[in-house]
Amino acid sequence: MRWQIPLLIVLLCGVVVAVQYFVPLEELEFIYENALDWIIITGVFAMMLGLWSLFRVSISKVQNKAPGWGYNLITLAGLFGMLFLGYRVESLAEGSLFMKLFRYVYIPIQATMFSLLAFYVASAAYRAFRARTVVSTILLATALIIMLRMIPLGFLSNWNQVLANWILTVPNMAAKRAIAMGVGLGMIATALKIVLGIERAYMGRD
């Protein structure tokens, strides 16, 4: 029972949804559209599990006075502060304290975290782009050609621009296609393994 039913559910759901793709009948469409909604609803329930997990890990650090437990307290304060302020749907309207916290605390930190990439791109490029082998030389050379587009170098810029455009539209496209096809095959094989019940590590053991 513990195994048969979940595997049956997987098989049934997988086959119905895959078949629906080929059969435009309204009845199947109805099931399909509802199934997508059910997944969303299940996801919201699962969010409570997520919050519970975050809460439990944080609170246990605070209780055990683990190093840096004060920061866990700040996390919990932020979490419950937001939950409290968002208790009604009007909280999502512009101008509420909930949205102000989002705008003045969340957005700046988020944008700054994102912008750290500008620094990391530089340090990663410095470390990794060494002409050690043929392969790494190709990597390095293409990256340089593409980056040089942004630097005004007079007539050289024009030449470089034409070459860069070719790289972006031809060899770049070729390799992207090869990767996409490979990934596609890997994905559909995985999907089949799941539906046929061969791949089941995600369900754990007893």
Binding site: A122, A125, F129, R130, M147, M150, P152
Partner: protein, 289 residues
């Protein structure tokens, strides 16, 4: 890990190879921020795809109606906001009528920010533009490509009223506008879905209206095939496209000054890569000899 190198004294090249990343960070920070203080403009050639966007607007007669769709949010501001301002400057300078809308909830707000900025210009202030006569902001409507499709039949299906709640029939600018037949050009600023791709597929392909776009740098190359087939007049790609447009418009603004930062930052990275390789090769030469 560094036991062998620690034993002998490090040469200059070795030091260079194991340079502290924080020094690189410092260089990048300086390269990005210092140029912001000098409003320097770089001269750069205007690429054909950008020139086409410029021409598409330039060709319109005074009084023509331009629909500008703002399909992005504050996350893409550094790239798309300068384009938005340039579009407005160009349209108002040529006395075109501007209809603003958005498929992204934050889009029309971005339009207002850009309008505030543009109205500070002396020549545009002098025109004394009127809301409802020279420009109108229809606001945001949910529905992605369905909105585009419905507007092809009648704008009122998607937008019964503008962002201020005035019914379209009471807005002088909107009186003669039923659907895309009454629009001379669509400009689209896009950071993803829904965006330029959807405008091409649902407005250009179905209702045969003219379209030009500004995109984020990541997205722009995937639009090139549409330019080739004529479905899209041209595209501004990222900050660079925005800067080239400002140059075509002969009104250098934010993007051009940002591009100075870009060029220097790219230069710093390229230099670091080249120096790193010189160090790498001179060390290898020493080892083999």
């Amino acid at each position: 890990m560094n036991e062998t190198t620690n034993q002998e004294k490090k040469t200059f090249w070795e030091k260079l190879l194991s340079i502290d990343r924080r020094i690189i960070f410092l260089f990048i920070a300086v390269a990005i921020s210092v140029p912001l203080f000098f409003k320097t403009s770089l001269d750069m050639p205007v690429s054909p795809v950008v020139q086409e966007v410029y021409n598409a607007i330039e060709k319109l007669e005074a009084g023509s109606k331009v629909l500008v769709s703002f399909d992005y949010d504050p996350g893409s501001m550094p790239e798309l906001q300068p384009m938005a301002e340039s579009f407005f400057r160009h349209c108002f300078r040529n006395n075109l009528k501007v209809i603003i809308m958005g498929l992204w909830p934050q889009g029309p707000l971005q339009a207002n920010i850009a309008l505030d900025q543009v109205f500070k210009d002396e020549d545009i202030k002098a025109k004394n533009l009127q809301y409802g006569i020279d420009y109108v902001n229809l606001g945001f409507t949910a529905g992605n490509e369905v909105v585009i499709d419905r507007m092809g039949h009648d704008f009122r299906e998607s937008y019964p009223a503008d962002s201020r709640g005035t019914p379209l029939s009471e807005i002088p600018l909107m009186r003669g506008v039923r659907n895309y037949d009454n629009i001379d050009l669509i400009l689209n600023l896009s950071a993803g879905y829904p965006g330029t791709m959807e405008w091409v597929q649902y407005a250009v392909d179905v209702f045969h209206v003219k379209l030009a776009a500004g995109n984020t740098a990541v997205q722009a190359p995937s639009m090139y095939p549409y330019i080739q087939t004529g479905q899209l007049a041209g595209v501004l790609g990222g900050m660079k496209g925005g800067a080239e447009y400002e140059i075509a418009l002969k009104r250098p603004a934010k993007a051009v000054s940002y591009m100075f930062s870009q060029a220097i930052a790219h230069g710093v990275i390229c230099l670091f890569i080249i120096i790193g390789n010189i160090a790498f090769f001179s060390l290898r030469k020493k080892k083999t000899s």
